[in-house]
Symmetry: C2
Subunit: 307 residues, 2 copies
C-alpha cells in the first residue's frame, strides 16, 4: 500500500516530510519509475499520468490543485475516487486576489496605469462602492469566501449558482433566467466557475452584452471559459471598461496574444491561488484517515457532474 506523489520535487519534499511524521506506516514514493505499480493505492497529481493503467489497485486520485478539470476522467476506472484540493490557503489566496482585482477595477487602476505611463496627473471621477454592484458566478466554498471578504467594503453583492442558494447580504440567483437577471445588475463580474462542458465558452459575446455598459470582468475561473476575441471586442467597443485576467487558453499565453498589451487588461500568469504544500499535505492525510475510517474524503468529486 503506497502513496505516489507525482508533481514538482520542491512540493514533494514538503509532502514527504509531513507524511513521514504523520503517517509513518504508509510508504511514500515520488518516483513512478521505481514504485511497485500494484502497491499504488493513492496518487496525487496535477493531471492523470499516462502510466495510470498500471495502477490496478488504485483507490483515490487526489488533485494537487483546487480544480479537477485537467483530469481525463475517462482514463480512470469508475471505482476510483477523485478528490479536489480543499485547502485553506487556496481559499485565502483567492480572497486576496479577487479583492485586489475588484478594487483594481473599482478604483480604475488600469486607467491610472496608463496615466502613469503617459506621465499624466489627473484624478478621475470616482463612484462610491455603494454604486458599484459586484456579482459572482459560482457559489462554491471559494465564491462564498470571496463574497465574505468583499462585504465590508459596501459593494451591493449578488451571486449566481446552478441550484438555489441563500446567503446573508447577497442577492442570490440561479438557473438560466437567474443568470440574465444577475448580469443586468452587475458592474463588476467575478468568474469562479469550475470548467465543465456547461461552462466551457460561457463568457462569450452574448453573455458580456448582458452586463451594463462599462462593466468590468475578473476572470479567475478557467481559461477555456472565456472567448478571448469577445473580451477584446467588448473592451474596444466600450461594452466593458476593464478586465483582470488570471487564466487564459492556452497557458502560458503566446507572446503575440493581444491580451499582453491591451491597456484595459491587467494580466497575471494563473497566480490567483496555489495550495501551500505543508497545509496541502495535511489536508490529504486527513482525507486518507477519513478513507481508512470508511468516510468520504472532503472534496470528493461527483464524476458525472465533473466537480
Amino acid at each position: 500500500m503506497t502513496f505516489l506523489f507525482n508533481s514538482d520535487a520542491a512540493r514533494g519534499a514538503v509532502f514527504a516530510k509531513v507524511f513521514a511524521s504523520e503517517l509513518p506506516d504508509l510508504p511514500f514514493s515520488m518516483d513512478p519509475a521505481t514504485v511497485d505499480p500494484d502497491a499504488v493505492r493513492y496518487l496525487i497529481s496535477w493531471t492523470i499520468p499516462d502510466s495510470i493503467a498500471r495502477y490496478h489497485n488504485l483507490e483515490i486520485v487526489f488533485s494537487i490543485g483546487a480544480g479537477v478539470d485537467q483530469f481525463t476522467m475517462a482514463a480512470l476506472p469508475p471505482s476510483v475516487k477523485v478528490v479536489r484540493m480543499v485547502e485553506d490557503s487556496i481559499i485565502r489566496m483567492m480572497q486576496e486576489y479577487v479583492t485586489l482585482a475588484v478594487l483594481t477595477l473599482h478604483r480604475q487602476m488600469p486607467a491610472y496605469r496608463a496615466q502613469q505611463a503617459a506621465r499624466v496627473w489627473r484624478a478621475l471621477p470616482q463612484p462610491q462602492a455603494a454604486q458599484r454592484r459586484v456579482g459572482v458566478l459560482g457559489l462554491g466554498v471559494v465564491g462564498q469566501a470571496v463574497l465574505e471578504r468583499l462585504k465590508p467594503f459596501g459593494f451591493p453583492l449578488s451571486a449566481w449558482s446552478r441550484s438555489p442558494r441563500q446567503l446573508d447580504g447577497v442577492t442570490c440567483h440561479h438557473g438560466a433566467d437567474g443568470l440574465d437577471a444577475m448580469l443586468a445588475d452587475t458592474d463588476i463580474l467575478i468568474v469562479l466557475l469550475p470548467l465543465t462542458p456547461d461552462t466551457r465558452g460561457i463568457l462569450d459575446a452574448r453573455l458580456l452584452a448582458k452586463l451594463p455598459r462599462g462593466a468590468g470582468l475578473v476572470h479567475t475561473g478557467r481559461g477555456p471559459q472565456l472567448d478571448h476575441a469577445a473580451l477584446l471586442d467588448a473592451l474596444d467597443g466600450g461594452q466593458l471598461s476593464g478586465a483582470v485576467v488570471d487564466v487564459t487558453d492556452p497557458e502560458p499565453l503566446p507572446a503575440d496574444h493581444p491580451f499582453w498589451t491591451h491597456p484595459s487588461i491587467v494580466l497575471t500568469p494563473h497566480i490567483g491561488s496555489v495550495a501551500e504544500p505543508d497545509s496541502a499535505a495535511r489536508v490529504v492525510i486527513a482525507n486518507l484517515r477519513r478513507h481508512f475510517a470508511g468516510q468520504d474524503p472532503v472534496g470528493l468529486v461527483d464524476r458525472q457532474r465533473g466537480y
Copy 2:
C-alpha cells in the same frame, strides 16, 4: 451671518442645495467678490484665501479635505476655530485604497505589471499573508478604519502613534523607541500621518533603512513627508521592493520626475480619498448645529499641534 463656500463650482452646487434644504435661514454664498465681508462667519475652503483678513467676524474655517496642513494658520486670528473634514466617504475610500495598495504589494503586482509589459508568463514565489507583517504609521480615525479592513486577510498587524494606544488584534507602539521597534517588524509600511513640522521629511533614508530588507511602502500621507530621492535609492538598492505612492511633493508631479517610470512604483494622482460632496455638506451642517448649541465641532483642530 453668511456661510462662504470657496472651492470648485460643481461641489459648491451640491453644498448650496443641501444648505438650502437643511439650513434655509443661513445665507450661503459662493462668490467672495460680492459677499459682504462683515457678514462672513463661516468659511469652507481648501486653502486660506488671500482675502481672509477682510472677514473680521469669522468664527470657523472648515477644510474641504481631511487634512489642514495646507492652511496657513498664521493668517488666522487665534479666536477662529479650524475644523477638519471627518466624513464617512473619506474613510471608506481610504480603506479601499490602502487595502488595494497593500494587496498590490503583497501579491507582487509591480513585478507582474513588468512581466505583462515584457510578455513573460511566470508565477513568482508567493509568501502567505501570515508571513507579511503590515504596519501603520498614524493611528487616527482613518488608520484604525484601515486596520479594521486589513484584519480579515490574516496579516500580522502593528501600528505606531505619538501617544500610547490599545487596539484589538494590533501590536501598538508609540514614541521614538516604539517607532524603531515597529519598523524592524514591518514588511509593508502604510503612512497615514498628518503633515506637521514633526512629520515633514520623516520618510527619509534613515527611516527606510530600519525596515527589513525588501519591505514595501504605501504612501498615503502627504507628499512633503517623503524624501523622494531616498525612496528611489532604497528601491534601486533593494532595501525596498516596491511602493504605492498617492501623494508627492510637488503635486502634480513634474513630467520629468523619476517616479513616473520606476518599475517598482505604482503612482496615483492623490486619489486615495475625497469627501463625497452631499455627505460633506451634511457633516458641515451638523457641525454648525453643534456650534450654534455651544458645542465643539467634530474634527476641531488643535492649532498648536497642527491636526
